[in-house]
């Protein structure tokens, strides 16, 4: 860097940006002195966990802070012009035309009562004086450009008639319609299935290269940032921890927080169980879960043949191991586990848990069976009664079965809560006063208090930030070896699955497409689908470099 080239004007230059939210008691600052720049055609990733201020920062760039938000100081220069204090009227000329937005959740980001065509055409009607037939032609070519088949049909359709991936393509079409200089992509794929996720990110990459647009990629996923960004800005609690070229940050992170993030992200960590201590002893008749020819059909309301959610599924799980069920939405994984825990009755097939045929159980038999099998839900907010405190939540299962006095129950609950790492002072709190990680610890404690043999974890760590996720996964691992538990781990996240499972079943459209030990499936996938899933795991660049 001895020769200083003629300075390029950055597309966007943020300097000492501080943002505060007003609430009942005064102002609270959410973003502290943030500075970064984005050069033309560059991809910059804003990485952080929840509460890091990344979304607030992104919103402020386009002037769409929540009503109670305010830029306290600092500047946001778009091509050298400070727009931080512009009025709405001034910003309206910039939004959509020079800076555009790809939102997080394609499901709710399109107006449900307007056609795709009119929502895409709207941006031309706002910013240009094109005639309506010209607009229509542009709409159709844009829809084709973002990879939607039959653009004329799509333009006439309503959002609910399109899949999530298709809707995100429409939103991308809106974002690139006027060839802006900067696209802000706010977690553009976190609501999508992994394989769709990869295709959408590929599309954004492609369009960026074609149009020379700069991209600000807001993401919680360091793997995505590593794959897609030229430079990374790491945020925590509204402050920049570190920023620099992607390769440099991944190779030699300077801040302790970045180091922690890198070691916690499952997509970066080396698969620990490949050298599993437990030798795969074949044909020892100690399979705690035996699923044989499982099928579940649902009657369609509209008539027609019944919907086969699960079709001829068979697998076995050895006692004391972790079996993962992997699949995207609609793969039948949820239906499968609901049958296993006895909340749903299969149409055909046999499920045997520890020698008991679950599908034949009713009433009291089913209730007694519940002691053996426990379910931990994805969303710890919804699975804990908001009116109970932690201690009540964990003692309740014991009250359902005889043999425990009140003091027994409390003693047992306290012991298990201490074991899952919940501080003593949290026992009297209600769920809303706990953090996401703590709530999931309570849910695990409730599942374990009955001394079950099988614990079914339904996307149990998917809603958590990576650093919290890593702690919960560690906890699950310790509990398994201590208590000899068997886990059935349902997930869409292959990186996590590879990290904690012994055996895997891969489901697609209700059918088993791949199965076996983790090393077999990950190293020699038998189906194209499994291969696609593995390729879609973000963070490949970094793994390849390592």
């Amino acid at each position: 860097m001895t020769v200083i080239p003629a300075p390029i004007t950055p597309v966007l230059e943020v300097e000492d940006l501080s943002i505060a939210y007003r609430d009942g008691s005064g102002e609270r600052r959410a973003v502290h002195d943030v500075s970064f720049r984005i050069d033309p055609g560059e991809v910059v990733a804003l990485v952080g966990e929840s509460g890091s201020g990344k979304t607030t920062t992104a919103q402020s760039l386009i002037g769409l802070l929540a009503q109670n938000g305010r830029v306290e100081r600092g500047s946001i220069r778009l091509n050298g012009t400070d727009i931080a204090r512009w009025t709405d009227r001034q910003l309206d000329t910039v939004r959509g035309a020079r800076i555009s937005l790809v939102p997080q959740d394609p499901g709710s980001s399109l107006n449900p009562v307007k056609t795709i065509g009119s929502q895409l055409g709207e941006i031309f009607r706002i910013h240009t004086k094109l005639r309506s037939d010209e607009i229509e032609a542009r709409v159709l070519s844009l829809l084709a450009r973002v990879g939607l088949s039959e653009p004329a049909l799509r333009a006439r359709q309503y959002p609910h008639e399109l899949s999530g991936g298709m809707r995100q393509r429409v939103l991308i079409a809106i974002a690139i319609a006027l060839k802006p200089q900067l696209i802000i992509a706010d977690e553009p794929t976190s609501a999508l299935d992994v394989t769709v996720q990869k295709r959408i990110l590929d599309l954004i990459d492609e369009l960026r290269a074609e149009y020379g647009t700069a991209v600000l990629l807001v993401t919680h996923d360091l793997g995505v940032a590593a794959d897609r960004a030229d430079r990374i800005v790491v945020l925590k609690d509204g402050r920049i921890q570190e920023q620099g070229a992607t390769g440099a940050i991944l190779a030699a992170p300077r801040s302790p927080y970045t180091k922690q993030l890198l070691s916690d992200a499952p997509s970066f960590s080396a698969p620990p169980r490949l050298a599993a201590v437990r030798p795969p002893v074949a044909h020892v008749p100690d399979d705690i879960v035996v699923v044989d020819g499982l099928a579940r059909e649902f009657v369609r309301e509209a008539g027609g043949p019944p919907l086969r959610a699960v079709d001829d599924l068979s697998f076995r799980v050895r006692r004391g191991t972790t079996h993962a069920i992997v699949g995207e939405s609609g793969s039948g994984k949820t239906t499968t586990i609901r049958s296993i825990v006895g909340f749903d009755r299969p149409t055909a097939g046999r499920i045997e848990i520890d020698g008991t045929d679950v599908s034949r159980l009713t009433g009291e038999g089913l209730r007694q069976f519940r002691r053996k099998v426990q379910l931990v839900y994805q969303n710890p907010y919804g699975s804990l009664d908001p009116r109970q405190n932690v201690l009540q939540i964990v003692t309740e299962p014991l009250a359902n079965f005889p043999g425990f006095s009140r003091s027994d129950r409390e003693e047992k609950a306290r012991a298990i809560l201490a074991r899952v790492g919940l501080p003593e002072e949290a026992l009297g709190r209600r769920p809303h006063a706990l953090s996401g990680g703590q709530r999931q610890r309570v849910a695990i404690a409730r599942a374990l208090v009955l001394d079950p043999q099988l614990v079914v974890l339904d996307e149990a760590v998917s809603a958590l930030d990576v650093s919290v996720q890593a702690r919960i996964l560690d906890l699950l691992d310790e509990l398994q070896s201590e208590l000899g538990l068997t886990y059935l781990f349902v997930s869409h996240d292959l990186a996590v699955v590879r990290q904690i499972s012994d055996t895997v079943s891969v489901l697609k459209d209700g059918r088993l497409v791949d199965g076996g030990t983790v090393s077999e499936v990950f190293e020699n996938p038998r189906s194209d689908y499994t291969r696609e899933l593995i390729n879609a795991i973000p963070g490949r660049k970094r793994r390849a470099a390592a």
Binding site: D92, P112, V113, I123, I126, L153, H160, E161, I174, A302
Partner: protein, 314 residues
Amino acid sequence: MSGYLLNRVAQALFVLWAAFTISFVLLQAMPGDAILIKFQNPDLGLTAQQVAEIRASYAVDSSVLVQYARTIGKFVAGDFGYSVQAGVPVASLLAAHLPATLKLAALGFLLAAVLATAIAFLSSLAPFAWLRGALQSVPSLFISIPTFWLGIMLIQLFSFRLKLVPVINPGPWQELILPVATLAVPISAPLAQVLVRNIDEVLTRPFVAVARAKGATRLWVLWRHVAKNALLPTLTIAGVLFGELIAGAVVTETVFGLNGIGGLTERAVGSQDTAVLQAIVVLSALAFVIINLTVDLLYPVLDPRLRTKTGAVA
């Protein structure tokens, strides 16, 4: 779709039949007896035997079940029986009083709709928090005012104090000004509340942020994105509003001495003229059922999500 339609119509008919039955049980099984009230009056000088004959001619002495069957048959044929008090068929009584009420209700509803929409949309555009707060508290004030008292207050203020609206011999439209205003207040309140809530809710949805990110102004977003999404759910309270409209009409007509269905209802209750009251109850239930049926059938037309799906859902 046709199966759904049949099902809905059958449901509507059931509700109608049950409403008739309830009103029959309530009104025909009552201890008070309109015929006795009217004809036992000593001024008429009728003997006990003459009263009994009159009673027989009204068939009040046959068993309840026979009366029930007979009444339901007549209702289906459009014959609502005889008003004992007025001495004319209920049907002609209703026909004579309906136009006045329809005029009042239509104008009242129109004013209420305008008022509610204005409050809801102005409050979401209001540039200052205090103005927004003031506008949004109007519906909760409106909902707390007794309609009859409001009517009296309006008369007191506009007719007696300000002498703007004459009380004696007003013109046909002049006499409607205050009643329509009175009726509009209790109707507009729930409508405005629902609208304000819907607009606030729709404004938080991500597609509004996307529209703003396209460069659309606040007014553009409110008009082209929020309005339809916020107005659609108000259709579901159409039935409730109809109930308010009936109650409002009864009270308003009583206060202003208008000769409509409301006034008729009030007099029918006072003189225990059950045939009249039952006809009004059944007709209101019919109107309610038709309104809700229309809303149910209209909804899929207005909301594309409820139409049968076409094309690929990949």
